[in-house]
Symmetry: C2
Subunit: 148 residues, 2 copies
């Protein structure tokens, strides 16, 4: 339902949010979230362009969250890399339809709106709060130490 | 939220359902639903393999629905060509997670389940019923005559 790209972006952001401000390299995040490093590098660029993360150069450099986990929603992350498609007007391009969608596209748009609402109400902080309650089931696999 | 492939499959099936048993060629459906014919041909093959439509050969041949619009759901069409992804177990492959999903994947799975439920309760017949009530906004653009 969401793309692989969006899923990798979510893994990376949730992981970063758990690092308490420590910059992390792509290789480090890729290992921890079990994501292909080359693919993840492109995803991280998209997240930078969207202003969700920043890249700090130099020794001990890496990526950092730009927003706090409390204000960052799942929806914002998905929409930064592979937006949920809505149907503001007839996608078939029938002039007489315009913004009056046919029943099929109305139903698809309703479902997309429902998912947008659910993801728009879920913050990254909530993902961490639940993770702390059930550590064994929710944490990313341990990584030995911060990258140097 | 659903792929372009799934959207084209839905257009084709809803169109076929409105033809009252008249076989339609790919070219005819592509014109009516404003879908690229080459792309649609592959989608129609997938729908055939999934048993949702059948192909009748010969003069006046074409595709026909195999199931009635009343028993065919939007979910069945989407799942025939590009299934909605569920998370029966940890997609990161963390052995200790197994079927106990982390909060992120739990949330993604909940949203997928919500969409599955909505689409599973919506039949192609409903798309037609609403279309007949609001003809001007819901019908595919007119095509001159059945293909020969």
């Amino acid at each position: 339902m969401i793309s692989q790209t969006a899923e990798y972006a979510l893994r990376a952001i949730v992981f970063l949010a758990g690092q308490e401000g420590m910059p992390c390299t792509t290789a480090f995040i890729a290992e921890a979230t079990r994501t292909p490093a080359g693919y993840l590098a492109k995803v991280m660029q998209s997240l930078c362009r969207a202003g969700l993360i920043v890249s700090r150069r130099g020794l001990n450099g890496g990526f950092l969250l730009k927003k706090s986990p409390e204000e960052l929603t799942i929806l914002a992350i998905i929409n930064a890399v592979d937006p949920i498609r809505r149907y503001p007007e007839c996608p078939i391009g029938i002039p007489s339809h315009g913004r009056r969608l046919c029943p099929l596209h109305s139903r698809l748009d309703e479902a997309a709106a429902m998912v947008e609402q659910a993801f728009g109400q879920t913050t990254v902080a909530e993902m961490l709060t639940v993770a702390q309650k059930h550590k064994s089931a929710c944490r990313f696999p341990g990584v030995r130490s911060a990258p140097s």
